[in-house]
Amino acid sequence: MNELLILAAKEEIRLCNDLGKPYGLCLTEQDITELVELRSQALRNTGRVEFGGGILPKLIRAFCSSPYLDSYNYAETLGLLQDAFYYYKSESQDRFSDDDLIEFMVDVFNGPAHGSAELLTTISLEQLCRWARNGFDNRFADEEDFD
């Protein structure tokens, strides 16, 4: 069954290539295979299971219009964002929906993180916990909060 799930995940990502085309972004078959493998690792590392194709289609949809993505860093950034997503999901104990979490990640990635997925992981963890405790309001956050 695992093979069937992997095939389904690859197909879903393949279909998302249409979303990236207007921005010159495309994933090769090798990129797709590696991303699916990274997804399996991330799920294992965070003790999670996904029955469907995975979060990547949603991440692609949300991030493909980012000014910080180009054809050189596209696949690698998606891998890091996927990693970060499952980590935050686990850390937040599923208190946030996928869409809410992705929205926050997009805000931070395109904002204070300036397109750095590595920085996103570091910065956003603290912000995410704070949001979980006190609620996140962009109006009262400033860049110092991300240091």
Binding site: M1, G47, R48, S90, D94, F96, S97
Partner: protein, 282 residues
């Protein structure tokens, strides 16, 4: 995840395998909606295992998957079976509560409360395999290890109903017996049966359930004069007479009461010279 697929061809089994993933995606969504959680494509592994276990249990409960049936259809069918069993359990709980003796132990009341709580919160759509837990009331028979979910709840309720029938049938002055019960007594039915059998071993009217010292010595003499197989036969006959005396017609309730006999036999096969009889027959 396992469900019986006997009678299906390899191709049909492969078709079923293709249905598992979309079914589980729907189950996850449905569970999250029911629990007022945000939508997530992924779930913690423990929860994933439980959701899959529930699907297996539900499909199994309706006899598995038949040729031409989709996984979804098999699941719906199983859920309908569960709904029927839930209704039966609710009716049985009401019967047990309505006929429960007012003098039952706190442990028994707690068990009934727990079963009531279980029926209120039982999620037969997503976590059907989960049975009641926190039931510490000791019954006279072992819980069948394969029982899960609503079937485990039904089993407990059936046993409690059988006990109620025994205790209600013994419409005697039981206060004297209850006064002698140890403070940590959890199951009064066990003592009622033990003393009842004991009185009939002595050929005495079991309406007076309490044992005097003289009764103990007479019982000791009787049992010591009989070899263990004879003691066993005497006890069985005493049990049969007891159930006739209390007019217990339900064969399942009689079988439940008779489940005490092996442990009682084992006790009475030991050395009877000490305090054993005093401690066993109150």
């Amino acid at each position: 995840m396992y469900f019986p697929t006997e009678g299906l061809s390899p191709q049909e089994q492969r078709q079923l395998l293709l249905q598992v993933s979309p079914l589980m995606v729907r189950q996850v969504k449905s569970y999250q909606k029911a629990q007022h959680l945000g939508e997530s494509t992924s779930v913690p592994s423990d929860l994933a295992r439980e959701l899959m276990d529930s699907v297996s249990y539900t499909i199994d409960i309706s006899g598995g998957i038949r040729p031409g049936m989709t996984l979804e259809q098999a699941l719906r069918q199983g859920q309908q079976v569960l709904e029927t069993r839930i209704d039966r359990a609710r009716a049985l709980l009401k019967l047990v509560l309505d006929t429960a003796p007012s003098w039952q132990t706190k442990c028994r009341w707690e068990a009934l409360k727990e079963l009531g709580r279980y029926l209120k919160t039982y999620d037969h759509l997503h976590l059907a395999h989960r049975g009641p837990d926190g039931l510490f009331y000791p019954v006279l028979v072992s819980v069948p290890p394969s029982l899960r979910g609503i079937d485990l709840c039904l089993w407990y309720l059936t046993v409690l109903w059988q006990e109620n029938q025994i205790m209600l049938g013994a419409r005697w002055d039981l206060d004297a017996l209850w006064d002698r019960l140890p403070k940590d007594c959890l199951n009064q039915c066990e003592h009622l049966l033990t003393n009842g059998f004991g009185k009939l071993l002595l050929d005495e009217d079991p309406k007076s359930l309490v044992f005097s010292s003289e009764d103990h010595f007479r019982l000791q003499a009787l049992l010591q004069s009989a070899a263990p197989p004879e003691r066993s036969a005497l006890l069985e006959e005493a049990a049969r007479r007891f159930f006739r005396q209390i007019r217990l017609s339900d064969p399942a309730a009689r079988a439940y009461g008779s489940a005490l006999l092996p442990s009682l036999n084992a006790k009475l096969s030991c050395d009877l010279s000490g305090d054993l009889l005093f401690q066993t027959f109150l």
